[in-house]
Symmetry: C2
Subunit: 88 residues, 2 copies
């Protein structure tokens, strides 16, 4: 059993209204030290597989086919083996 942690972020040149909104809210709350905010997605996937290499390949395919929009987003991920094969 493997656990993949996937981070999907907007490319630096893409406008990020969610990040701007968060920045505005933080400023309103008095956090004047905020310079920039970028919002992204964080996805944890548990998957079965024969090897770490195979799991990494599978996760890469998931990102390409579904999780990230390659036009405006980039992704990175890490896969680690977990001990228990049962449900959480």
């Amino acid at each position: 059993m493997y656990l993949a942690k996937i981070y999907v972020t907007l490319k630096p040149t893409v406008n990020d209204p969610q990040g701007l909104t968060i920045r505005g809210a933080l400023k309103t709350l008095g956090f004047d030290s905020v310079v920039d905010v970028r919002a992204g997605k964080y996805i944890e996937i548990k998957l079965s597989g024969d090897s770490l290499d195979a799991a990494q390949q599978t996760v890469k395919e998931m990102c390409r086919q579904l999780l990230a929009n390659p036009v405006i987003e980039t992704y990175r991920f890490e896969v680690q083996e977990t001990a228990q094969p049962g449900p959480q």
Copy 2:
């Protein structure tokens, strides 16, 4: 200048419809090895500050006051110093 990377996830007992939807979509695409999917938020914040300690304290307050809903979410973050003080 500091860069904070913040990960906000739903608590394990909280229902995650977004994660279930992603899981369903992955299964439909043929990724039969998927066992579980949890969706969360990933936020990058650039902030100024006098010290790493102060920046960490500020980010913790941001999480408590705005970024995470303590009823259903947990958060973790890491803060690192960045070289350039100018805009990205």
